[in-house]
Symmetry: C2
Subunit: 700 residues, 2 copies
């Protein structure tokens, strides 16, 4: 670690007069320039440049607080401070094994004239963007306080192309719309929310972050937040005429945003910028704005691929519940089975056998525990316990069977969003995991939140999710959360937090309208900016898989393979049924082979909404894996193999869409070609419409 | 147990036609007569008679349910059923050792014409009143459902004298108003709420139950509820012109009243009636409407008197918190003491010594654990833990010291109404109690509830309180809950639930306006109808006790003694400081001697708002104890001693207001007279204005 204080500059700034202060304080790192000012009404503002491009125009900063304690105007700059920082760190799991965290920091110390209360605004300027946050020091006049609004603005310079989903305090499983910012609005939302069980949109001109934009000049801009702790998630209100974005925090039921105690700091607001799309995907600024790992011993944290008892229920061919009604019992008090329950011992053994035979580390089983009859649309508090199996699921037998085959069972705790119920039982649940050797858990929050009136994105739930991650860590359990707020890089600080859902996954092909054909080319620029996603790729049976036989993926089989590389996650499901993999064992080999943790990553080609091609080097190996996907257009991707070791030969297997195949025609057809590659080889991947390609490159 | 089904009657009723049904079904036990009818719009009604007095006129029944499932009209009577029941049972702790539970039961089976859904209304007719409830059987058309309103009415026959406190979903610590029903309204409420930290009044013409009334004819009527489980507490909206009372259930934040799953039954709505005030106090109907004890082994449940580190803080002479701010630490990270913390080891030992020397079983200590700096007005979630003592409180040393002196330490868990926080830690808290030998706990719910938007009286909190009682039972811990909803007799089913606060206690003399001089003559007719109250009697220093030296009790010292008999509770505090008892050891002897669990009880004289005199026989002894209190009027109470054993002699000690003493003059003066009593003796107790008398009668 290396902190250099710019004492000279700092002292100078402390001495300047107000007129000088209003001209602004500039902090520059390479092409990124931040200018902070405070106007004559005591309103702080900032603007950001990329080279000469003033892509964030002067934008307001400030917070509204309850009880006449607002920090939004009438502020005096009482001091500034500058420093720089440069270190390189190693993530426990990741896309690369070294991350450079280099920034210049600027702090504005502000005092509220009327109350004398203090707030600091801290900026960090990186090579590819900035982060800033509000800090409330310990002070006599501000102990407990309530944030009623955050006034942070992002004033964009033009009507950019925008990849957006509607602002929603409860749901983030929307399909993206690609439009001009001026076209953001209600129509697109209404079309899309129909598939969601729970949604809470208060403002039709709002969008969620990470928000990806591209200017007419070709500048890529991404706005999000980092290190969201004890504060609500932020969405953005969009002024479709002026292109001003303003923070909109998920409220509690009374409209308050955060209940706080000083000292406190908000999450970082992040702006990532580049004239190359690939740089956005490679940015580590959000991770860098998070604190280092809180855990000393991380040896128990392992990346993992898994199969699971899940897709059959999602597609309508089975049930999570064992019976059809909460108290369906016969005259002997025994539960009456509905005959469609998938989480039964025999079926689970089939998954264990498959995993063991195919290099898959884990088996997830949903619907193993009692309570599913009451889930998840009744807004009812009791129902689930997290330790009692249905009568056809033998926990001990399966645990021993799996252990004998070298397979890890993955726990599943669906809460039905009855979060109070889960919190009451959470120690019992984790003790059960420890007792039966579960090393990881998938949690779920389907339905409307209890405490009633709280939202998935509000401060209370943000705190709950993190408490659960900390609880999991306390029991040495890795965690994958479904239906949380969008992640903000906290996997750096809590490396057992392997993945989240928090976006529209592959599952919408099972029960919804499916996903737009370009969906997976947008996700890495949006949702994945905050952290890994449990997207559940790897569906091989792409039509006639659901009870509703009209369903069909907008994907070829090879695109499903490529997603293991293009969608980074240290926890990846092979989501299809074993029987659908057994008939394509040659293609499944890629899923068996592909790592989920990496030493290095190269973005070969990328354009949001169009295509992504990425090469990654498996952790601790000299093997590379490539995934390439495209939207509705077919295209050729030329791969620059210069990342290969100059002195080595590699055996490559290329999984490509078969000639004549595309997402509408013979979508499950593929070709497999083997060849020897060196750094001098040329490799061009042909992607069909809605298709993809996957390549394994194993050092000889 | 003895259930006789009136099969003949039942069959007959099932065969009758609609016209006959509308004329009404009558159920009579002694003077109490219930008539059930259903009108031509399918609206069910009931009325109640006491002899010929139709004191509850025809009153509507029904429930509004969400999703067009209401059960309030358009109902068809599809069957009726009658039965009778007579048993005698023994409470674990109580005012008497045998309770007769005798009633006739009438059930109306109703079907909703539009939906086909079923609801039963079950009535029980006792000698001194009735109970009725709604029952939803398991049925295909009604699984999960939401009660949006209960339409139950109580149409009173006149403008009765009423002892009332305002309807409030969060607070019940009001002083009572004695007025005609027609005078119930806003003015009285506004005058009284100022002292409350948290209150939630939506309807100024509403009152809380137990509601005590007296008709011009001299009929005493009490309306309340029994066995409140998984449902909100009921308050009553008052039509001050027609004297119609209608149920008003505490809502959740969205205005819903209860989220339910059939089969389900509501609490019982109770009406107790007599032409003698003493009968109201002696009624066991609310207890009888509760289920028998759920606990097989109750040997660990013990009645108890206790002293405690509490009054000094209440009166403003000390603090619960050790420091003055949540993170008041010095440069070594140590907490900075404020020098006013009462729960320190030395002070607690003083209480243990006093208890041990004076026959007091327990010592309560408030303010022993960290977190008080954040309590209780900040609506903040974190703060308390329930296992970490302040640095000046040595848990183990005090536990051993108390054990060596034969004294029980009583745990204190103040939640600050951050209920989610308490629920997360509750197992840890109770394990700590078990580890350190705490056999009972006092819990507290000061402040606004978290989950934010829930009320103290709502379904969510009703469920929380009962969960906590069950959790305590699981750990063999007795419980005394402060700031719960009004009790409803559940101490029968959960005998470890020793007491509650749930009303305005003696403590209001410490920090509020004190209590009206007749307050303790009203409480047994109102709040105590549902169960024992932790009123904290026994204050000897009745003026100059508080930091605010203008404070003064509206009581003599002898009235404080009498409260141990007039206010039944198996858990009774001697609330004053040991130093104030040490100077009145002769008077304290009554507190040392008086039991808190009884074999028998006789009401000598009683009139709500005026006076109460009660004699009770100590459990397992032949000793009697009398308490008599009066309002602002002095009076003589002649005691009929016929309850004494004819063949025995008794040594009596009479603690009486000294001549010239009343609540305004020399209120701490008393006389102590010893005499021998037999069944033939005459005993008249003189009570000064605001005074009382206490008598111990020990068999020789």
């Amino acid at each position: 670690m290396n902190i250099k204080k710019y004492f000279g500059l700092s002292l100078l700034l402390l001495l300047i007069n107000t007129a000088m202060a209003q001209s602004g304080y500039t902090t520059i790192l390479q092409k990124v320039k931040l200018v902070f000012s405070i106007d004559d009404k005591g309103v702080p503002t900032y603007q950001v440049f990329y080279g000469a491009d003033n892509f964030i125009k002067s934008s307001r900063l400030g917070l509204k607080l309850a009880d006449n304690k607002s920090m939004d105007a009438g502020l005096t700059l009482i001091g500034v401070d500058s420093s720089s920082f440069d270190e390189t760190w190693t993530p426990v799991l990741g896309e690369v094994n070294k991350i450079r965290n280099r920034y210049k920091q600027f702090t504005a110390y502000l005092k509220h004239n009327a109350t004398g209360n203090l707030v600091n605004i801290v900026f960090r300027v990186f090579e590819d963007g900035i982060g800033f946050r509000y800090e409330f020091p310990k002070q006599a006049g501000l102990k407990y306080f309530v944030v009623t609004d955050e006034l942070t603005q992002f004033n964009l310079a033009g009507d950019h192309k925008t990849f957006w989903i509607p602002g929603d305090y409860d749901a983030n499983e929307y399909a993206y719309t690609e439009s001009k910012m001026s076209q953001i609005g209600k129509a697109s939302y209404l079309e899309k929310k129909a598939e969601l069980g729970v949604y809470q949109v208060k403002d039709f001109a709002s969008v969620q972050t990470p928000l990806m934009m591209k200017s007419d000049k070709g500048l890529y801009i991404n706005i999000h937040e980092a290190a969201l702790i004890d504060y609500p998630a932020m969405q953005l209100h969009v002024d479709t005429k002026t292109f001003q974005l303003s923070a909109d925090l998920a409220p509690d039921v009374f409209g308050n945003k955060a209940h706080l105690l000083a000292p406190f700091h908000t999450p970082w607001r992040t702006i990532i910028v580049s004239d190359k799309a690939a740089d956005i995907l490679m940015s580590k600024t959000i991770l860098n704005l998070n604190e280092p790992s809180k855990m000393i011993n991380t040896s128990w944290i392992k990346p993992m691929k898994f199969v699971g008892v899940w897709w059959k229920m999602q597609t309508g061919n089975g049930t999570w519940s064992y019976t059809d009604y909460p108290d369906s019992t016969d005259t002997n008090g025994k539960l009456i089975p509905n005959g469609r329950h998938c989480a039964n011992t025999a079926n689970v053994k089939r998954y264990i056998d498959f995993a063991s035979a195919n290099g898959i580390q884990g088996v997830l089983v949903e619907g193993w525990n009692t309570g599913w009859e009451s889930c998840c649309s009744n807004w009812t508090e009791d129902g689930f316990d997290f330790v009692t199996p249905y009568p056809d699921f033998n926990v001990r037998e399966l645990h021993e069977y799996a252990a004998g085959k070298g397979v890890q069972m993955i726990m599943h705790n669906e809460t039905g969003s009855s979060v109070t119920n889960y919190e009451r039982q959470i120690d019992t649940a984790f003790k059960f995991m420890n007792a039966f050797g579960y090393t990881s858990v998938k949690t779920g929050y389907v339905g409307k939140i209890i405490p009633r009136g709280e939202y998935h994105d509000g401060q209370w739930m943000v705190n709950h999710y993190l408490r659960t991650v900390e609880k999991a860590a306390q029991y040495n359990v890795m965690i994958d959360i479904h239906e949380p707020m969008r992640p903000t890089g906290l996997q750096r600080t809590y490396p057992n937090w392997l993945a989240n859902e928090a976006a529209r996954g592959n599952e919408y092909y099972a029960f919804g309208k499916g996903n737009p054909i370009d969906h997976e080319t947008i996700l890495p620029f949006t949702r994945l900016m905050g952290g890994p996603m449990d997207y559940t790729p790897g569906i091989f049976k792409l039509n006639h898989y659901a009870a509703d036989t009209t369903r069909k993926f907008r994907s070829t089989l090879c695109k499903q393979l490529a997603l293991y590389v293009t969608m980074y996650s240290p926890l990846q499901m092979a989501a299809d049924l074993p029987e659908n993999y057994e008939t394509h064992k040659d293609a499944f080999k890629f899923i068996s082979d592909v790592p989920v943790d990496w030493d290095d990553t190269k973005v070969i080609a990328a354009e949001p909404g169009d295509y992504i091609a990425i090469a990654r080097k498996g952790k601790g190996t000299n093997n590379w894996f490539i995934g390439a996907i495209t939207d509705e257009n077919n295209r050729d991707i030329k791969v620059d193999l210069s990342f290969l070791d100059k002195n080595k030969k590699y055996a490559a297997i290329i999984y490509a869409d078969a000639p004549g195949t595309d997402w509408q025609h013979d979508q499950e057809k593929y070709s497999i070609n083997k060849m020897i590659l060196t750094v001098k080889s040329t490799l061009t991947l042909h992607l069909a419409k809605g298709g993809g390609a996957a390549v394994s490159i194993i050092q000889l």
